[in-house]
Symmetry: C2
Subunit: 251 residues, 2 copies
């Protein structure tokens, strides 16, 4: 029986990523976290702080994935338009969430109080629930299968922590890496055969140039460890048979 | 007269980014390079090594941007399917480019010769031109407004070098950053007014938490330096008037 594969998409919202000012860190951390939940990150879009761009991406991605995550654009300033755009995408109003308001009131009690700008961070698409944020005041937001996270990576990480174990997923993808000091082009046929011989396995080949020499790491991925181990053993044997030294764990 | 804005999209092709194994470096470097060419990176998609996903993204992105860049999937192994997918997306055959073949023959002359696997790297969509690659053997590929680059960041960088100054663009986006040790929520109104008062300017607000204190950098962006400088001066004055110390250049 084919295993059900659970997928998620991620929309990274922010001009600062598209301008090159900020190096994104959320794709990798969300990918790794999702995998531990048994959910595969299937696609990512990086989009500008523009309402129509966000609406388009949200509607394209939420329908064809089990989950949609967004990062960025939920702060107190004028360029934080994620909540409004998502509410428009799903066709509901924006309301102030009473619990979020209470959280912010407590958080800002000794920091100058809850101003209008700060109250913006209590706004949610009507019907949404909150995702706790232990790092700073403003909570994340869950609306249906959409998870709206902060853009600052350590705050997003705290929100992921709060979601750990709460999303339905399947078997996590497991992987094993082996490395060789070899040009990948010299072992391309071996790789192709090893993948073909083990249905359900995908082998990625990642070349590098280091210490003046070329090498490559081969990542064997599948949902079952036994399958990964069998394929890795066969590939290792084939590489060694061809006179190549194999480094288990990768180089 | 409104200035013509030139835009590019980027498709990052690779399971290794979606699995979280590899931290992407190409979005930021291509964004910065594009800006120097007077071209704005308008959107990015990260997609799996799956032909239908690549075809869909290429066709969505190439039509609505002046340029489309792709990274990844042009090596010699079975998981390198970018050329085939792009040829299918644009409706042409895949052919061996004679000049690419000659380049690879020279490159591999003292490295074991041009095997079938290596010859894969000379395959291009019919009608394509080559982008020189000084770093390793295999060239990048240009087909119409599509630029097919390597996934390994320093090789992609070399291909960008070869393209520098060859693409038509408009005025580059210029920016100036100022920083404040302040919670962005305390100055949200000032930011909004400064942006409103200077049409053509976008102000991004990027909060951080450092040395036990909150702060924020404000990035003022426009296509004309004079406009950026005027808006920055006004914003600085407004922040100082509100009793805030401003750090020119950002914190």
């Amino acid at each position: 029986m084919a295993e059900r594969i659970w997928t998620a998409a991620l929309a990274v919202i922010g001009d600062e990523i598209l301008s090159g000012r900020t190096q994104d860190r959320n794709v990798a951390q969300i990918a790794v976290w999702l995998n531990a939940q048994g959910i595969r990150l299937a696609e990512v879009r990086v989009i500008a702080d523009r309402e129509d761009a966000i609406v388009e991406a949200v509607n394209a991605l939420r329908g064809r994935n089990d989950y949609l995550f967004t990062t960025g654009g939920i702060g107190p300033t004028h360029d934080d338009i994620t909540v409004d755009a998502i509410a428009r995408a799903v066709g509901v109003d924006v309301v102030v969430h009473p619990e979020a308001r209470a959280v912010l009131e407590r958080h800002y009690a000794d920091r100058g109080g809850l101003t209008d700008a700060r109250l913006r961070m209590a706004r949610v698409p009507e019907g949404a629930r909150l995702i706790p944020n232990r790092m700073s005041g403003a909570p994340g937001i869950r609306y249906g299968n959409i998870f709206i996270l902060a853009g600052v990576p350590h705050i997003a990480a705290g929100m992921l922590d709060a979601l750990t174990g709460t999303l339905e997923g399947g078997a996590p993808l497991v992987s094993r890496t082996i490395g060789c000091w070899v040009a990948e082009s010299e072992v391309a046929d071996l790789l192709r055969s090893a993948e073909k011989g083990h249905p359900g396995v995908a082998i990625g080949s990642y070349p590098f140039f280091r210490e003046g020499r070329v090498g490559a790491n081969f990542v064997v991925r599948a949902t079952r460890q036994a399958l990964v181990d069998r394929c890795t053993a066969d590939l290792t044997a084939a590489l060694e048979h061809a006179g190549r030294q194999v480094v288990d764990g990768g180089i």
